[in-house]
Symmetry: none
Subunit: 539 residues, 2 copies
């Protein structure tokens, strides 16, 4: 009964225009997978005609089995040329994607000033380019750049640009508020007019320069638009693009449109936070729907009302978008997540009420210190196993030292580590190209003689995030380490105001996790025999 | 001709409900002065019945000569009591402010669930409280809590609450979207109905839980509201209050309402940043109108169009709100970005074609190594100045050493730095809670004896980003440092596979930049005299 709205995510293209946002091809592939799991309809990957990173993305994404349509981005053909020979259009076609978006001018002022061509030539550029894409059987979307500014200046020309795209065969006419300066009432009025004039489905693409991108997207949908283009967390140039993390729940929970399948909406908070981690951009605590404080209650009156009925100060149930209520005076967060995680690990936690309480307290305390277990499953598993089973530490680091010396171009970095493995003390030293690398090398050197299979483990990702950035070089940092090997990938976390100590914690957890899982594999594992011989693991 | 909209700032009251925001009485007084200079009409200082901090504020603010009306906040009288004896109402009257805002229930559900009284008693509470304030000659505003939720549930009761306040003599009926869950079209419709039903001027108070607080405030004004309540930078509980920094320019520049005097609007960016500094909350670079990236251009095509006419990609002139255009230099951008940056710095680069080519190559090479100058204006400026002018290094770091030792719970971290200032060698040592902090401390200790004003500079932000994360602990990291002081904020960058070395580079650039700008200030600067005496700066 409710109208279907198609969600077009351009985090990987327009989102990377945001200041300080830079994504590798790997990052983009990871994000694409998450967006696909969330259930967006289109994922714009980039511009296959522009750089090697995007070319690599389009090549590799084909091997992934995604439900979302991967789309490529480009411009209408160059002026005074032939679409069939346009290198950039040809790259899009060759990239093998099922759909593409072409941006083209719709504002006469831009045709004259930026493009420096005639109004007629711009219309021809639009027609030719869409005709070419349609000839190659692609789904084709027209991003009508500056459509609203153009319409306000010269409505007939702006509509003529849309008509040319429609004549060329465009499947969607996406009206762009490129400069982000249009008011919601204008958006509603202009989209309504377009809907009267043209038959092709309409999309909306807004920017947040007036802090109105979400409202403008909603106004367009209410006037008849059926596709919304935006980015996760509103990343994008200047003040950002329209934030899909707010638009989707507003459309679905408030205005009764269909966007995602209901059960997918619960993935929203997790997806938003994942993207923020990968992009290494701090998510504002107060971000609508998905922020850590979006359902946090501080005021005493608010809290006591919330205890009576959450509806008193919550506009939706936070669980609908995968977020949770937090009471800032006495945090009760995340119990259900932890219980479900423990159950998943086969730990009998319901019958251990005292232990459950203790581990909840410990996790709450760690999160307060800056730990985040959403991106560090292995560290969370170790915490839970430590609490609910009788795992004994397989090894213990007695101490470590770092020495670094720099003068002119030369630099030395050394680490000395003292490790205790089942009562046997090992002292090793190693160099590295930085202190963390030296430490990592020294620790592996010490352990590999006991656990040769450690050589098969490598660190596949390393992230540093500053918490409380205002404390500058004395600020705490959170280090996330991803390790790969033994047919598995796992992530661990460390927090300290000392980046080396935080890295060290995460490295330690990574190796502990690996040894724990080695000890459980049967057969040829000399490590597991060693571990059993020492009686180090009792379960 | 254009309608006057009254701006009611509640940064000092509702804004302090935001997570992590805490203002001393001193902070509040400083902010009140800035808000008054900006020209807002009402400044809500706090609740004189609630705590000593607010009592001190109201006492001291009376001695300041402000044009804005200082207002106090409280609730309607307690249930089953007498307004004349209500301690909290009496405190408001005693505080001596000319105006006050009382919050009172307008949602029947809240009367039953939170207040736990009858609908009639709530109406009596409203009437009695306003009658008392008016009896004492105060301007009185009714913050109708949850008005929109209440109206949707029981329109007649919500309107009855407003009528009671009007009968009690309230000067303003402020409709609150307390939970932030209402859509703009609903706001427009409900405010229009209220305007038909009642004669008292209407205000609007919204929250940002759906990322719609700005749009909702505009919709209310378009439906007839004449007072807007909000906070600077949108601070407030959960997702924040309506952001006045966006609402004011939208009303004034886009919708032709009068809010501030025209020349005051230019103070907006400065005021917003000042409040963010005092509140110690990092301002998002992409914040609309006032953010550092609000008029920053990254994409090459955008930049080349901006050079032709700024209107191509700017919805307003940034100067209207006291902000400025920035051209970001990045991998996505062409040479035009660098040339315009150099021109902005007043460097004569067109006549130095050979130098221009060289610096382009150098920047390209550095970006390839992982440097990113879009977030590091100061480092870019130093590079350009080094290439195009004859700046001499004011100081040189001969060497540094780091020693770190960890065993059990104890940890030591020390740095030794050897610096050459104009031929004079200084050796200093310092501790820190991490290696970078120790290094920072040692370097400042060495330089402060030559440049005392370095004490006025502090690092306001520190970011670490791992590049090529696949190389794990041997990966390169990029460090971005933001420094504040000398009426300025600047950012610098360092890259290395050693996080300490990268931090060191960024710290070095930060201090070089500060000294360069100190040396250009005339007058009392002992550093500039020192620098000139040594002949260290030749331009």
């Amino acid at each position: 009964m409710s109208a279907q709205i198609f969600i077009f995510d351009t985090t990987l293209r327009d989102g990377t225009q945001g200041e300080g946002i830079s994504l590798s091809a790997d990052d983009k592939l990871k994000i694409a997978q998450k967006l696909d799991a969330l259930g967006v309809h289109y994922i714009e990957g980039g511009n296959p005609g522009s750089n090697n990173k995007d070319i690599e993305f389009f090549k590799r994404v084909k091997t992934m089995k995604l439900n979302a349509k991967i789309t490529a981005f480009g411009s209408t053909r160059r002026k005074n040329s032939v679409a069939e020979h346009d290198a950039s259009l040809l790259r899009i076609i060759e990239s093998g994607v099922p759909a593409a978006t072409l941006v083209g001018k719709a504002w006469d002022f831009h045709v004259h000033t930026a493009l420096q061509t005639t109004l007629e030539e711009n219309l021809a550029m639009i027609f030719d380019s869409f005709a070419l894409l349609k000839h190659h059987g692609m789904e084709a979307m027209y991003d009508a750049e500056h459509f609203f500014d153009g319409y306000k200046n010269n409505p007939e020309y702006a509509l003529a640009a849309l008509r040319k795209a429609q004549e060329g065969g465009a499947d969607w006419l996406v009206l762009c508020d490129t400069n982000g300066g249009t008011m919601p009432n204008e958006i509603h009025e202009i989209v309504s007019r377009v809907k009267e004039e043209l038959n092709t489905p309409i999309g909306i693409h807004t920017h947040n320069d007036c802090e109105l991108a979400v409202a403008n997207s909603l106004a367009a949908v209410q006037a008849g638009a059926r596709q919304v283009q935006g980015t996760m967390n509103g990343y994008g140039e200047r003040c950002g693009n329209a934030n899909l993390c707010s638009i989707i729940p507003n459309l679905q929970l408030k205005l009764a449109y269909s966007c995602l399948q209901d059960d997918r909406l619960r993935l929203l908070t997790g997806t938003a936070r994942y993207v923020s981690e990968i992009a290494n951009v701090h998510m504002p605590v107060g971000q609508a729907f998905v922020g850590n404080a979006a359902f946090a209650h501080k005021g005493g009156i608010h809290v006591s009302a919330i205890m009576k009925d959450a509806k008193t100060y919550e506009h939706i149930e936070p669980e609908l978008v995968g977020n949770k209520q937090r009471i800032l005076v006495s945090e009760l967060a995340g119990q259900s997540n932890i219980i479900s995680k423990a159950t998943e690990l086969g730990l009998d936690i319901t019958s251990n009420n005292e232990k459950t309480k203790l581990i909840m307290e410990q996790i709450k305390d760690l999160e307060h210190q800056g730990y985040q277990f959403e991106g560090a499953d292995a560290s969370l598993e170790l915490l839970l196993r430590d609490a609910f089973t009788d795992v004994v530490q397989i090894f213990k680091v007695e101490s470590f030292k770092i020495h670094m010396e720099k003068s002119n171009a030369s630099m030395i970095c050394e680490a000395i580590v003292k490790i205790n493995v089942g009562g046997q003390i090992v002292l090793t030293a190693a160099e590295g190209n930085g202190p963390v690398n030296a430490l990592d090398n020294a620790m592996r050197k010490a352990l590999v003689q006991f656990f040769p299979r450690i050589e098969q483990i490598h660190l596949s990702d390393y992230k540093v995030r500053v918490i409380d950035e205002k404390d500058a070089t004395a600020a705490k940092v959170r280090v996330l380490v991803e390790s790969t090997g033994l047919d598995n990938t796992w992530s661990t976390v460390g927090v300290s105001s000392n980046v080396i100590e935080a890295s060290w914690e995460a490295l330690l957890d990574s190796i502990r996790y690996a040894l724990l899982h080695m000890s459980k594999t049967t057969g040829d594992g000399t490590e597991s025999e060693f571990v059993e011989r020492l009686g180090l693991v009792n379960h």
